[in-house]
Symmetry: C2
Subunit: 183 residues, 2 copies
Amino acid sequence: MAEEAENERRVLVAVDEGDESMYALSWCLNNLVFQNSKNTLILLYVNPPRGGYMPFETAAALDDPETHPANLYSPEITAAMERYSQEVADCVLAKAKKLCKDLQHVKVETRVEDGDPRDVICEMAEKLGAHVLVMGSHGYGLIKRTFLGSVSSHCAQNVKCPVLIVKKPKSIADAGDETYQSE
Amino acid sequence: MAEEAENERRVLVAVDEGDESMYALSWCLNNLVFQNSKNTLILLYVNPPRGGYMPFETAAALDDPETHPANLYSPEITAAMERYSQEVADCVLAKAKKLCKDLQHVKVETRVEDGDPRDVICEMAEKLGAHVLVMGSHGYGLIKRTFLGSVSSHCAQNVKCPVLIVKKPKSIADAGDETYQSE
């Protein structure tokens, strides 16, 4: 078994704006990804549709040219929204990479994809040949989840590889971010 | 981070009659529990209520002396059912321990508890101070799940510690049990 533990693994970690996904990454680094393992860590940020989070019925309207956000907003607003989305993605991934900075023998890759996080995470787990998917339990905030449903529940049910769902303990949530940072 | 990885961890693995939970245990041994870690592995088998798997409404009737299985069946049948339950528990845990036989620096404990697996697994994760809960995705069979709902989904939502849900790949399911055994 020790030999198998040394085998190459692709660990996909879904990160978002929430502290919980950073805690999940930190937990993963401390418990699943070891310095002496031939691991590739893939940090995935999913950029939700520009129209924002919405129920499936509304989301379907995005396929209609008349209701597509690109046609609802002026080019300036659309460009600003795109810039903002890119900045959020960059910020999240920079924070995630900072947590990984002490890893010496682990290759760290980043991916930014667009779409419904539920579908995209499942698709990417398959496409990237992930050996395990790691994610926070309550990604994408309360209001967003009201429309989206639980991303982690959806992925746990639909992803074929093992799924590790990490909740941020309340004590740590109360204490702030610093408690789970690796530095 | 390497130091934290060496810290003592209590890994709770819920096992049942299904091959998937044994695959989950095997995955856990290969990817989460390392020989050089100060880990305690707790193998938990939950013995469902003697009345069998049933919806919550029916299960509630167990509290009623008139409908409690102990009063529905003769003492001989009740004793035979108890013996059978114990034999199943022993068999499952023996199979699980066999998978762990090569672990040299990991303490392996076993627990048998009675009750609804959904509730018992969540309670035991809390009570035993589990650092992570590992379980198969589809425990307790198709018909049983129809009544029970998904045990893993329930636990992923309600357990406070990280939950690792492992699905047995179809290729392995087709190939039979031997492919995931450690021997």
